[in-house]
């Protein structure tokens, strides 16, 4: 009988609000540290930690040190919602994360209602189509990237038909739904449409299927490990047609894991530590030194998200929560103003980003940038 009392007391004690430090600015990162999103989430978190350490070492934002807290969402929408609500109740200045689109969908209304800016790692197209003025991406959306891929397939690869291999989660499905209409517009036939699972046991059957489709090129849209394993399986099955991908497929993690099978892979790259921009490469080195592995694009996204907040705050010269979102919308951040942003970034009214991006190819185990694509609206 007493149990309930004890529970209630303990609960209220535990859930009560801790006092806010006055001389610090509080940022809460709500991110997938366990569950299906753990890999992406850990990169994102490390990127954020790196940025916070850098900023704090140089005196913080407007003289205030950043106090960062990470809440694990377990890649579960219900918990994500709880964590975002908690972040706001605790007076966070802005919300960072999450990375997966499902949890973003579950939590974005909370930040919107509280009129607090939320910086997410999701790439799914629909996120920025719901008129949420407080949601900001940290990378190009799939709707921005896929037309570039389609043009590349048509003009450079000169493919008449393409096999599409995608991972059946919000990232892969979103990409697949975005590329199909672009391919149709470009007059490219989809030879075969292959769904795969995240953490799938074996890719041999998928590789055989792709090989038998006799497509002119293969568009691979999978997460890092799966990309590497698919490339290996394809090589093993003797698939010789060009493999084309978007950012992840050309990432250093995939190259490391796939080894020789990655050579010859080409495609479009949004954010990459291999991009011919010194700031990116320097970030890559710093990240490697601190965490002892190579960052993927999620690490870069987390890093830049913190700098977006810093830039907006210094621009408005005050810690106005609502102002962060207002300041960022429609703004263009130049590396000359804020070196931490690394590449000129335009934030559109709906929260999408526009930046330069790259065409690249993997040669001898290295990503080589072959061309730089301009911003969509230069």
């Amino acid at each position: 009988m007493k149990m309930q009392w004890i529970l209630a007391t303990a609960l209220s004690a535990a859930l009560g609000l801790p006092a806010l430090a006055q001389d610090k600015v509080k940022l809460v990162d709500v991110v997938e540290l366990s569950g299906a999103g753990a890999t992406a989430g850990t990169n994102w978190k490390n990127g954020i930690d790196l940025a916070v350490a850098d900023i704090n070492a140089k005196g913080g934002i407007l003289g205030k040190q950043i106090e960062i807290t990470h809440y694990d969402t377990q890649t579960n929408p219900g918990n994500t919602r709880a964590a975002v609500q908690r972040a706001i109740d605790e007076g966070t200045y802005a919300v960072l994360g999450p990375v997966f689109s499902g949890p973003i969908g579950a939590s974005m209304q909370i930040a919107q209602r509280a009129e607090i800016a939320q910086f997410v790692g999701g790439e799914a197209a629909n996120l920025t189509m719901q008129g949420n003025k407080y949601l900001f991406r940290t990378s190009l959306s799939q709707t921005a990237a896929m037309p570039k891929i389609a043009a590349y397939l048509k003009n450079t690869v000169k493919a008449g038909s393409v096999a599409v291999v995608w991972v059946n989660n919000d990232f892969g499905k979103g990409g697949r739904d975005a590329i199909l209409p672009e391919l149709e517009k470009a007059g490219i036939k989809v030879a075969v449409d292959v769904a795969t699972e995240q953490g799938q046991a074996d890719f041999a059957a998928d590789a055989i299927k792709v090989k038998n489709s006799n497509a002119d090129a293969i568009f691979v849209y999978l997460n890092e490990e799966e990309s590497a394993r698919f490339l290996r399986a394809a090589k093993q099955q003797g698939v010789t047609k060009p493999m084309v991908g978007e950012t992840t497929l050309l990432g250093s993690k995939v190259i490391e894991l796939a080894g020789e099978a990655a050579n010859g892979v080409k495609g479009h790259v949004g954010l990459s530590i291999d991009a011919p921009i010194p700031a990116f490469q320097e970030f890559g080195k710093k990240f490697q030194a601190k965490y002892n592995y190579v960052s993927d694009h999620n690490g870069l996204k987390g890093y830049m998200a913190v700098y977006m907040i810093k830039w907006a705050t210094e621009k408005q010269k005050t810690f106005d929560k609502k102002g962060v979102a207002d300041t960022l919308r429609g703004a263009t951040i130049k590396p000359s103003d804020e070196p931490g942003i690394m590449i000129e970034t335009t934030i559109e009214q709906n929260g999408d980003l526009d930046r330069e991006s790259f065409l690249a190819e993997v040669k001898d185990g290295k990503q080589v940038i072959t061309a730089t694509l301009p911003k969509i609206k230069p």
Partner: protein, 336 residues
């Protein structure tokens, strides 16, 4: 009441059948509901939300407790049943504009019926085949939720799920909805309390303690096990019907196989076969991560370790521990 734990739960359960201790459980429920009605005062929306989430998960764990704790069956699909309830409610209320109460009832009936259909062939063979069948079912449901985008929203989920209203009171606010959840949880827990006390419930227990003896005493074993499983599954459906409007968004991830495992761990942690066990188990599963924020993602290890240690030291879970401690205290103080 003071039976040593190694004897299994049989004697304790007989103890629970005493009128005095039954009332103790009911009084705890009533008191708990009253406290939780007022608890969120000063807790903020986040605290309130976590309390509501805890209660909703408790309902699902309660159902699984009936299946596992009282009938001794391993179901690996409790989260999938919760998913069925959540998607049914979400689709019925947001797409068809059906009243939430009707959707709630349909969710329960649907999961009950599916439970019967699943349990019948499995229990025909042997109790542990239910684990195999529910494992398959759990994964199949997850695949359907994810792949049938036209209906379920696929990997992108369903958003903007409306919250119900009570009479003419809108329950959109965190506090109002929390109170609604408290009432529904209380009704469901009281129903379970009544069920366990009824002749039905006694048959369940007889079954768990010794199926052969129960059968020889004329208990239709298969029918009762099947019913226990189906009712347990219906509770998951009810939990899902509350989960959808609570989170206002659902996608397939909270209804995956690993979540079903997690629910089983919550039953055991709280104390399987105790009416109040699920509340403690869900507390450990849902609220513990919030307490353990210092350790970050390590909380899962902490939770799993707690469960392991409990299983080694006291298979009756936290409830068993409390009971033991209570017995020791009262024993020493001479009845106090």
């Amino acid at each position: 009441m003071t039976a040593p734990a190694t004897h299994g739960a049989a004697t304790e359960r007989r103890g629970l059948a005493l009128p005095s201790s039954i009332d103790g459980t009911l009084v705890t429920l009533v008191l708990g509901a009253a406290i939780l009605w007022f608890a969120p005062a000063g807790m903020g929306r986040y605290g309130t939300y976590v309390l509501s989430l805890w209660l909703v998960m408790s309902i699902a764990v309660m159902g699984l407790n009936l299946t596992l704790g009282y009938a001794g069956l391993k179901s690996l699909a409790q989260a999938a049943f919760m998913g069925l309830g959540a998607y049914a409610t979400a689709l019925l209320t947001s797409k068809l504009g059906l009243n939430w109460y009707a959707a709630f009832a349909i969710s329960g009936l649907l999961t009950f019926a599916v439970g019967l259909v699943l349990g019948f062939p499995a229990l025909r063979v042997q109790a542990h085949y239910l684990a195999f069948v529910t494992l398959a079912f759990s994964t199949l449901i997850w695949l359907i939720l994810r792949n049938e985008q036209w209906l379920t929203g696929g990997v992108f989920g369903l958003s903007n799920i409306p919250r119900p209203s009570f009479l003419s009171v809108k329950l959109d606010g965190a506090l109002e909805f929390h109170r609604f959840v408290v009432v529904v949880t209380f009704i469901l827990a009281a129903a379970l309390w009544w069920m366990i006390r009824s002749p039905w419930g006694r048959a369940f227990m007889a079954l768990r303690e010794n199926p052969v003896r129960a059968a020889s005493l004329g208990v239709d074993t298969r029918m009762y096990t099947l019913l226990a499983f189906a009712i347990g599954s219906a509770y998951a459906g009810f939990a899902g019907a509350l989960y959808a409007p609570l989170v206002e968004f659902i996608d397939p991830s909270p209804f995956s196989l690993s979540q079903s495992f997690f629910l089983l761990l919550m039953v055991v942690a709280g104390g399987s076969g105790y009416l109040l066990g699920p509340f403690i188990g869900a507390l450990l599963g849902v609220v513990l991560p919030e307490w353990l924020r210092v350790v970050g993602s390590l909380y899962l290890i902490v939770f799993a370790t707690i469960v392991m240690l409990l299983l080694i030291a006291c298979p009756q879970g936290v409830s068993g521990l409390i009971e033991r401690g209570w017995a020791k205290l009262t024993g020493k103080a001479g009845g106090r």
